[in-house]
């Protein structure tokens, strides 16, 4: 039975390079996808993937299980490193998340993906389903903040909506997601 992520992180914190290799093999596709979604440029994407796993290696001893699963922690690092690059070169993407409409998200849910673990696919299905239940305008605010790294003022400017409206949309969206995704927190290893 392959070691779970928490065990790998403990081994990495102890300097076990083999654990890093296993961890990298397990999650590079998803980290790559997050970096690619945010950056959309292959050169930077590769660098971000490397930086993400390097940071995971260096900070494995700082991982706190109470703050979420190992995968969530890793993807948070990937997002942060990708947004650093985006913000540094000022080339924020205009496009919303693929499958912007609820229908498209539902379609993604049914497709799944054979290249990643069953657990990861299950998580993806749950998150996409939760996103698909949000009104389009709430989902847009959320995606512009999360994937494009925009502040609420920037989102208001981009969408032409009052700042207060954006704040409300983002707040409602997050509260709904928090409830829907509670199951992932309970499953976190």
């Amino acid at each position: 039975m392959p070691p779970d992520d928490a065990a790998l992180i403990r081994r990495m914190a102890g300097g076990d390079e083999q654990a890093l290799g296993i961890f990298y093999d397990r999650w590079n596709s998803l980290v790559h996808a997050v970096a690619l979604r945010i950056l959309r440029q292959s050169d930077d994407v590769e660098d971000v993937v490397e930086e993400t796993f390097w940071q995971a290696w260096r900070q494995a001893n700082r991982y706190l299980a109470t703050r979420g699963s190992v995968q969530t922690w890793l993807l948070t690092i990937a997002r942060s490193r990708a947004l650093d690059r985006v913000r540094a070169v000022k080339r924020l993407r205009e496009e919303p998340l693929e499958g912007e409409s609820g229908d498209a998200l539902v379609q993604q849910v049914s497709e799944g993906d054979a290249s990643t673990s069953t657990e990861s696919n299950e998580r993806r299905v749950i998150v996409l389903a939760a996103l698909s239940e949000l009104p389009a305008e709430q989902r847009e605010a959320l995606e512009l903040g999360y994937y494009n790294g925009l502040s609420q003022s920037e989102i208001a400017e981009r969408t032409g909506q009052p700042l207060g409206t954006i704040k409300t949309r983002m707040r409602l969206a997050m509260q709904k997601l928090k409830g829907r995704l509670q199951i992932l927190r309970e499953d976190a290893r």
Binding site: L20, G21, Y24, N28, S29, L30, H32, A33, V34, L36, R37, E46, D47, V49, E50, E51, F53, W54, W57, R58, R62, T66, R67, G68, T72, L75, T76, R79, S80, L83, D84, R87, A88, K90, L97, E98, D113, S115, R123, R124, V127, L128, L131, L142, G145, Y146, G149, L150, S151, Q152, I155, K167, M170, R171, A173, M174, Q175, L177, L181, L184
Partner: protein, 290 residues
């Protein structure tokens, strides 16, 4: 209930955006100031932060090509190996000053509240370091074979150590700005150029990181001096000068009890510094998290 000037209810309304890292800079500072002293908000924001992180699962996994995957694996292995070969400790002195490379970067320096951004310079250094360190590792193993290889390795060692120091320093800075036990003190001024600054106190390791903007250049023979103000003392935290844009970062290590800090201040002093402040602070901030 209020903390640091922002009402609890007001801060509560902004926690979702804080978790998404989508607050504007000023609001973010105010919300963080409240959260740092509010257990209810801390608990809520952690839950929201996890929720925000889970959004990453919505992307469609995209496998890398085998060439890409192997290339990254090789670079990671090289960095890990080199990290084992060379492990010098970097101890920034109390007066060390790192100039912020670009205001745009500084403007975003606070956007990730639990994951700080890194600069292009540091990222470039990372890439160069990966290649240099991987090469160095191989060369080091063979350096007994011929003298020329040894000399080459020596040169690369110096380069790699230098780059590694940059990376170590960057990693340490990130930790000191974003750690779970970091208290933030905002300093303000009513001067014409409106200098502003923040002190990040990583109480877990007693590391202090002071970031200032819009500071006018000190006059000839003068310098700025940073002070940690307690009820009894004004503790010298180092002298510094801002860069041409008025930006400066001062890092210091000082062991202070968590409830001892009353304020942080900057004064104008002779270039050698002073044992105690001799002028009125040009910028000062009270520790509202006590």
């Amino acid at each position: 209930m209020t903390t640091a000037g922002m009402a609890h209810e007001q801060a509560l309304q902004a926690l979702e955006a804080l978790a998404l890292d989508a607050l504007d800079a000023n609001e973010r500072v105010a919300v963080l100031a409240h959260v740092s002293g509010c257990a209810i908000c801390q608990q809520e924001v952690i839950a929201l932060q996890v929720t925000a992180s889970q959004l990453a699962y919505a992307v469609t996994p995209v496998p890398m090509s085998s060439v890409q995957r192997d290339r990254i694996r090789t670079r990671l292995a090289g960095r890990v190996a080199a990290d084992r070969v060379h492990s010098p400790e970097v101890h920034p002195s109390a007066s060390s000053v790192i100039l912020i490379p670009h205001p745009e970067h500084a403007a975003h320096a606070g956007r990730h509240w639990f994951e700080s951004p890194s600069s292009w310079l540091a990222m470039a250094a990372t890439l160069v370091a990966a290649v240099s360190l991987a090469t160095l590792y191989q060369v080091t193993k063979e350096r007994d074979s011929i003298q020329r290889t040894y000399q080459y390795a020596s040169v690369r060692t110096a380069q790699a150590d230098s780059l590694r120091a940059v990376l170590e320093d960057r990693d340490r800075l990130i930790a000191n700005l974003t750690g779970p036990q970091v208290a933030v003190v905002t300093l303000t001024s009513d001067g014409i150029r409106a200098p502003s600054a923040r002190m990040f106190w990583d109480q877990a390791v007693n590391q202090w990181t002071f970031v200032a903007h819009n500071l006018p250049a000190p006059k000839t023979g003068r310098t700025y001096q940073l002070w940690l103000v307690t009820a009894k003392d004004k503790i010298n935290a180092g002298t510094f000068s801002p860069d041409a844009k008025g930006d400066a970062v001062v890092r210091a290590t000082y062991n202070l009890p968590k409830d001892a800090l009353a304020a942080v201040a900057v004064t104008d002093e002779p270039s050698a510094g002073s044992p105690q402040p001799t002028t009125t602070p040009i910028i000062v901030g009270a520790n509202s998290t006590r």
